[in-house]
């Protein structure tokens, strides 16, 4: 115990002396939270589109109004499509809608339907999808108005009543913020420990430590505990900022949230230790930490991209990513509440990976002796 305390003291001093630890634990989380809280949003509401109004009959004007009234679009109305084709190429508009000159004429005929064309810029598929969907919405509004005008009862018979549970306003900020906590924890856990321990190997101070009376277990614990405390402090800061600055609701219990974070941090730290013991070189350690820690946390955790939509081999791969389980826990604890089954299942997975990597590191440190 005495030796362990000595190790902790050494590690704490190292942390305090190196400004980069402070950068990682305080500055980086704040930067990330700010970016995800304010900067990044998947809620699209200022799509720039053009409307090519070749027809000026009342019907066409009414459609134009339903499009310009849509809150999702900033519409630029032109008469000729040649005016805006270069804008689409340049990316200044996300798409355009064409009401052809023969639109109202065709509407009177019963044989062929009158077409309205929507051209979306496919070079950004997600935005293109929104352009098409929102135009469809505006088109529906137009149709409903037409029916009312003609005094017909044939509104769409089946109405959909959508309810978005747990996030009624559909704020993407809510799930992005809770997910970004997982990224911050991964960064602190895997990247910081990875670099720190790799540096000790690179400089040979690790061998010096190993040649003392310290056992490998003590050595690992001596490394982990200070960073664990650092990570938890950072996590609590992040939670408070999310709650009080970004008004993220916390519907589950605060203590459960801390508990789950502790389990994940344990896991991330073990992975970081393992990577650095394996690589023993800072550049390589940081690259591996990036590949096994940070990137998966970003891409494969389901925080931004839907896991279910990924191809099968990659979907299987996500089961090996501790961040996946953490993201699910975070989103649930913040937005839904304590769902015992889900939290317990995910925590067990994280615990398993944590213990696995911890034992692997322990074994490989022993071998080095």
């Amino acid at each position: 115990m005495q030796r362990l305390k000595g190790l902790w003291k050494k590690e704490v001093l190292q942390i305090i002396r190196d400004p980069s630890s402070l950068l990682i634990t305080v500055f980086l989380p704040l930067l990330l939270l700010f970016l995800y809280g304010y900067g990044v949003s998947l809620d699209i509401n200022h799509l720039r589109v053009a409307l090519v109004l070749e027809d000026t009959a009342p019907d066409a004007i009414r459609f134009a109004e339903s499009l310009t009234n849509s809150t999702y679009f900033d519409v630029k109305v032109v008469r000729d499509r040649r005016e805006i084709e270069i804008d689409l190429l340049r990316g200044d508009i996300r798409g355009f809608v064409v009401v052809p000159s023969y639109f109202s004429e065709f509407r009177e005929r019963k044989s062929l339907p009158a077409p309205i064309q929507v051209i979306a810029d496919g070079s950004e598929p997600n935005t293109a999808n929104f352009v098409i969907n929102y135009t469809q919405g505006a088109f529906q509004t137009f149709l409903t108005e037409t029916f009312i005008q003609r005094d017909l009862t044939s509104r769409p018979l089946v109405q959909i009543e959508p309810r978005y549970w747990y996030n009624e306003q559909l704020e993407s900020r809510f799930f992005l913020l809770s997910g970004s906590l997982a990224i911050i924890m991964t960064l602190i856990g895997t990247l910081l420990t990875g670099l720190v321990v790799a540096r000790e190997w690179e400089r040979g101070t690790m061998e010096a430590l190993l040649s003392t009376a310290v056992t490998p277990l003590e050595l690992l614990l001596g490394k982990m505990v200070p960073y664990f405390v650092l990570g938890m402090v950072s996590m609590v800061i992040c939670i408070f900022i999310s709650l009080f600055v970004f008004h993220l609701p916390l519907r589950g219990s605060f203590f459960l949230l801390c508990g789950v974070s502790a389990v994940f941090l344990l896991c991330a730290l073990s992975i970081g230790l393992f990577v650095s013991t394996f690589a023993k070189n800072q550049i390589i350690a940081s690259q591996i930490a990036l590949i096994v820690g940070f990137l998966p946390a970003y891409i494969l955790s389901g925080f931004l991209f839907e896991i279910l939509s990924m191809p099968a081999p990659i979907r299987l791969l996500t089961y090996l990513m501790p961040a996946r389980y953490f993201v699910q826990c975070l989103q649930t604890l913040f937005l839904v509440g304590n769902v015992p089954e889900l939290i317990l299942k995910n925590s067990l997975f994280m615990l398993f990976f944590g213990l696995l990597f911890f034992s692997l590191t322990l074994i490989s440190t022993k071998k080095r002796l």
Binding site: I24, I44, I283, L295
Partner: protein, 366 residues
């Protein structure tokens, strides 16, 4: 003299097998992983259906969900009480709830409502799934009215997507990743080479050599530019041949823009390395620069969605312009004029970066 310094830098970088792999491999792994996993498409999402109506119309509607290519996994719920645990435990993203009156109301030609409950935790997925659902219902409405002779409407919306007709996400990811990962490679090479020499103490040897500071600066920047551009070219080829993304524009324009782009970021690399004392700090600096640069470049979300205060900041990020060039040359075959329109801001940023960074570099090492 500069040439031999550049040669020495490149050798230091590429001689060691481990560091060779660690510089060339990760971007390729990231490209593959990102290209196949990072998709905002939604497919194969399990949904639940609670059908409390025994009529023919409800059955018909459920069948349409079975027939839809978007929904491959449909789970049937038996009671309203099952909805909450189903959503809470994320067994599915959506529950479609049809009440007892549904068919009866439709038979009487009255308006019938179906409830759609979505998991707001994943607001993006939920919205897209809701979009698919309303498409199915819309079609159902049309067909039902046609059958019941209620048709009145005679106009139709015809959506098309240019440049990427099937809206494949890979076609978007690859052009963006080529730019992002070239930038990352260049930054890692530049920052690490200075930091490593500082940590090992060999940097002082360089300073006492007859090389001027300007020559040292050039010697440190050029390898990053070379490796970044080569990496970018390898990834471009991967994108075209491995992922089959069409490249419609001119290779010459692409190559020149890539070179300008990588050069414009290399100044930032020098900047980071003059501020950091250890490799660890250099790595962190790279990271702290990369995160906001990528997030604000318009890669993750459209720039017009960002708060208006942040939007001007994006003009300072070279990646913003390179993304447009890369996407434009891959998919849109943009003319030289449009390429130049994006290249000149990068040139301006590049000049400022290089001059600023060299000044700082000179002061820090003097």
């Amino acid at each position: 003299m500069i040439l031999s310094l550049i040669k020495k830098e490149l050798l230091a970088l590429l001689r060691d097998k481990k560091s060779r792999i660690s510089i060339l491999l990760p971007p390729l792994v990231q490209l593959t992983l990102f290209a196949s996993a990072a998709t905002l498409d939604v497919k194969n999402v399990p949904i639940g259906i609670l059908n409390r109506d025994s009529g023919e119309e409800a059955f018909e509607l459920v069948q349409r969900f079975h027939g839809s290519p978007f929904f491959t996994k449909i789970i049937y719920l038996q009671s309203v009480e099952e909805i909450a645990p189903f959503i809470d435990n994320q067994r599915g993203v959506m529950v479609l709830s049809i009440d007892e009156e549904f068919s009866r109301k439709l038979d009487r030609k009255e308006e019938a409502t179906i409830q759609v409950i979505l998991d707001g935790r994943k607001s993006n997925t939920a919205q897209i799934v809701a979009g698919y659902t309303s498409q199915i219902i819309l079609q159902y409405n049309e067909d039902f009215k046609a059958k019941a002779d209620l048709v009145e409407e005679n106009s139709i919306l015809m959506p098309r997507s240019w440049f990427n007709p099937n809206l494949l996400y890979v076609w978007y990811n690859i052009p963006c990743l080529v730019a992002i990962l070239s930038m990352l490679t260049c930054l890692v090479v530049t920052t690490q080479s200075v930091a490593r020499e500082r940590e090992l103490g060999t940097f002082d040897q360089l300073l006492v050599s007859p090389l001027t500071v300007r020559q040292i600066v050039i010697g440190k920047i050029v390898p990053g530019i070379i490796v970044g551009t080569i990496e970018g070219t390898i990834m471009l080829l991967c994108g075209i041949f491995l992922f089959k993304v069409p490249f419609t524009g001119s290779f010459l324009y692409f190559f020149c823009s890539l070179l300008v782009f990588v050069w414009s970021v290399s100044g930032i690399g020098l900047f980071i390395s003059s501020l950091s004392r250890t490799q660890q700090q250099a790595m962190l600096g790279t990271f702290i620069f990369m995160m906001p640069a990528v997030l604000l470049s318009g890669f993750a979300t459209p720039i017009e969605n960002m708060p208006s205060l942040l939007q001007p900041v994006t003009y300072l990020i070279p990646l913003r312009y390179m993304l447009l060039i890369s996407k434009g040359l891959f998919l849109k075959d943009i003319p030289l004029l449009l390429v130049l329109e994006r290249v000149w801001p990068m040139v301006v940023i590049g000049i400022c970066n290089t001059i600023g960074a060299s000044l700082l570099f000179r002061r820090r090492i003097a």
